[in-house]
């Protein structure tokens, strides 16, 4: 028997009875139990965890832990995450009333990938790969539209380039402003009917909880 960990929460009642609790320090991890030989990539399990995650978010905002982290018991959980609880507590308390929203915009055409045979040094290749990942081909008037209509409704926002064919905006939004964001999203959808974009959420603290996601 092992436990697939979902997130880190402030209070026990933020988790129970939706999921099981694994206490670490003064915080509480949410988890679901699975048999030892059940593969983590099981589609049913993924859907189950996604469902539990959504229900937990309805209760209260929490720090999302990337899927795949599984432990045997509280001792193992504490030894692996104990050092992070101070930071997590600060994050949850600061954003208790907020959720994340994500806007993904597909580029009109992906930029060309550099060919490694054209480069003599690793650094040159790395920089070329990096430059090509910053696609400029996202409709600028749409981006302006987003800055005007969505960004003012957020408490924090971060534009990111995940790959050569899209751009992404991560947003922190107060729960009470969620409706307004969705309304603004609908308006954008009508105003820019030909721009492929996706506004999704709410999500727990993901981008804004992880330093490596800068």
């Amino acid at each position: 028997m092992k436990w697939v960990v979902i997130g880190a929460h402030l209070k026990r009642e933020d988790v129970e009875p939706i999921a099981n609790v694994i206490p670490i320090g003064d915080l509480f991890l949410s988890a679901v139990p699975i048999d030892d030989d059940r593969p983590l990539g099981d589609r049913d399990l993924l859907m189950q965890v996604a469902d539990v995650r959504a229900k937990l978010l309805d209760r209260a905002t929490f720090v999302a832990i990337r899927y795949g982290f599984a432990v045997r018991d509280a001792a193992e959980a504490t030894s692996k995450c104990g050092g992070l609880t101070t930071r997590w507590r600060a994050l949850i308390e600061a954003h208790r009333d907020e959720v994340e929203m994500t806007l993904k915009i597909a580029a009109a055409a992906p930029t060309a990938r550099p060919n490694r045979h054209d480069f003599s040094s690793g650094a040159e290749y790395m920089r070329a790969l990096h430059a090509s990942a910053h696609t400029a081909d996202v409709d600028p008037s749409f981006r302006d539209g987003v800055e005007r209509a969505l960004v003012p409704l957020t408490t924090q926002h971060r534009w990111m380039h995940r790959d050569r064919s899209s751009m992404e905006l991560a947003m922190l939004v107060r729960r009470r402003d969620l409706e307004k964001i969705l309304d603004a999203g609908e308006k954008l959808r009508k105003e820019f009917a030909a721009v492929p974009f996706l506004l999704s959420g709410p999500w727990p603290l993901e981008v804004f909880a992880d330093d490596h996601q800068q």
């Binding site: 997130g7 880190a8 030989d37 593969p39 983590l40 990539g41 993924l46 965890v49 996604a50 995650r53 720090v63 999302a64 832990i65 990337r66 899927y67 795949g68 982290f69 692996k80 995450c81 992070l84 997590w88 994500t102 996706l198 999704s200 999500w203 727990p204 993901e206 981008v207 909880a209 992880d210 490596h212 996601q213």
Partner: protein, 58 residues
Amino acid sequence: MADESQEITLLETLDHLLDRGVVIAGEATISIGDVDLLYLGLNIVLANIDAVARSSQK
């Protein structure tokens, strides 16, 4: 049309589950030199391979 929306919803939900959130150090950490590159996708793939290997031994 409804099918496509449903599918996008599914893909997006799984994307947030699999590709975001805090990575716990030491879990499937791959490094190149001293630069730590963290990701968890491999854990899922390896777990599946393991399951196949075990069941093919029966």
